[in-house]
Homo-oligomer: 243 residues x 3
């Protein structure tokens, strides 16, 4: 399976062109768009989101991950093997959390370059062909060489006490794994103090709460309303925990 995790949007040309490249080079492999609205140009919140959602896919999945504000600069193009899956994308922190959670993770630098390579769309020209070739069975060593992990220099925490994604319903996902929080914990966001519930229908209409979402992240929601507008939350909003 080829899985897309990008900030490209689905309607415009970017996801379509990438899909065309993948279909030409790996015609038999199903393509799934997981996120086309990952945090735009923000690798840090995207890294926590990707770690939570990428891990849901079966062994052997190739994930093409592009949140790449530094496209055209000297940032490396990399492949990460972790948890039985293969991730392809820019070396800007997007894979830091995935690597940290698998002690056997391996990092490769992509040496292969297409002709021509546009300055602004490596997703289509560089990352998609690499992902398609790996999904079609080519060995990583054909396009990349092992390299040194420099993620420690970024110093990002194990869990991010911020909002990392607002979903279609206005629910606000944090970068914190719910399993590490006590069910008694209160989350504080924009001055609102929230207790946990198992699911929406366990609280009255209009009430805000937090819960462990279906991919393991602590998420803030309001029953019957949008949490983002009700509580004033956006990607990057800080969240604190009181036990």
């Amino acid at each position: 399976m080829l899985v897309l995790f990008t900030d490209f949007g689905l309607s415009g040309p970017y996801t379509g062109q990438i899909t065309a490249v993948l279909k030409q080079l790996a015609p038999e492999v199903p393509i799934i768009s997981l996120f086309a609205d990952a945090p735009s140009s923000q690798p840090k919140p995207a890294a926590y989101l990707l770690a939570a959602y990428g891990a849901w896919f079966p062994d052997g999945t190739v994930l093409l991950c592009v949140v790449d504000p530094g496209v055209g600069s000297a940032r490396r193009a990399v492949i990460v093997e972790a948890g039985g899956r293969i991730y392809v994308g820019p070396d800007n922190g997007l894979f830091d959390i995935i690597m940290r959670r698998d002690p056997d993770a391996q990092l490769w630098e992509i040496g292969w370059r297409p002709q021509p390579l546009s300055a602004s769309f490596h997703g289509r020209d560089l990352f998609a062909p690499v992902a398609a070739r790996l999904a079609a069975g080519e060995p990583i060593a054909n396009v990349a060489r092992r390299t040194v992990d420099e993620s420690a220099t970024r110093g990002w925490p194990d869990d991010l006490a911020q909002i990392v994604y607002i979903d279609h319903y206005g629910n606000a996902m944090t970068g914190m794994r719910g399993a590490l929080l006590s069910p008694e914990a209160r989350l504080i966001a924009r001055g609102h103090e929230l207790t946990s519930a198992a699911t929406f229908s366990a609280v009255p209409q209009g009430q805000a709460f937090w819960y462990v979402n279906s991919n393991g992240l602590a998420e803030i929601a309001v029953n019957g309303a949008r949490a983002d507008t009700a509580l004033g939350l956006a990607i990057g909003s800080p969240v604190s925990v009181e036990d």
Copy 2:
């Protein structure tokens, strides 16, 4: 064919995860996203929209339908056979209008449960596997048993005199079948009195009108502009008919 009718959005993770489940369990069946922006958490308008659009698909189509504000509560999970098609989703009224329009419709309660079953994403964990298995040819009796239809208790009308969907152009679909209205009828919405026309190019630029849309619903539009903003319409806005 597997058809998705949901309020999940396409860009975020929900449609992608559902598609991944379907592709794993029914790899040969084409997947079509019909609506990913069905009326959010509102089974009533969604029911009239689904009745109009589901009926367009050929015999044997399996429709995975998730507008499910009660996820995690005690609402039943059901399968409806109607009009030669199979519908899978929550028992919250979403299938009431489909059943009412086919005297031979049959209702089944899904007894099968996956392990694990998240509290908040039955679309992925319960409904998608069931839909995929049925699309791959498994008999309904493997996962469900016949049950009693309780839709009469909701008392919903045959046609809904409200706006049930705003499309990408700002056109406002009602929950009323156009074939039941006289072409001479006037629709009144937010104080605007509208006569019918065959299509957009039959009225002057800027003029509001109603017409029977390509799936049989009476729809309110403005030639060259968005009807929702021009007339102040939203899902739930009442519409009355004057003959």
Copy 3:
């Protein structure tokens, strides 16, 4: 490959129904959504966008192109052969620029009509079946006859000095081919005077610039921000060039 270029949106019913038609009539052909948010009901800017992006696809691609405010009127339904690709859609100027850029382009008028043909959704009822049949290998002459090009009567320029598309990041594409502009040229848009850069990371955060995008159009962007909101740009905004 079947490529969709429309203003239908992806979430609502239109792209889904078209995809269902294509899958039934050409089940083996991959379907790519290139644009579902082409300039809404505006064939002129859409024509320049389509010329830039359609040309990227390999020989033999069939492009189903629907930006069709005149649906239901007397405008012709046409097929264009140009640059080794086949375009299917309304004769409202959408294909003018493609034809002008290929001296061997051929224009066909679609004579075939489905039963029934809705008044408002020729994309589904007329253009999609034609595109699917051509993608499945049927000759054009089965559904259409050669006809006379009337595009000269519209008098559109070779390049359009306007914004023709705002992308997911807020970047503003012009209808001008970047290769025809000097790298020293300044673009003037809404009073802002912009110089060119190779890519985003070549200019400071917050600075506006223009560059040749990955499909050859001159595009206006701001490093780290949305150009549309920062500069007040929308589809149709005029752009002038000073050498």
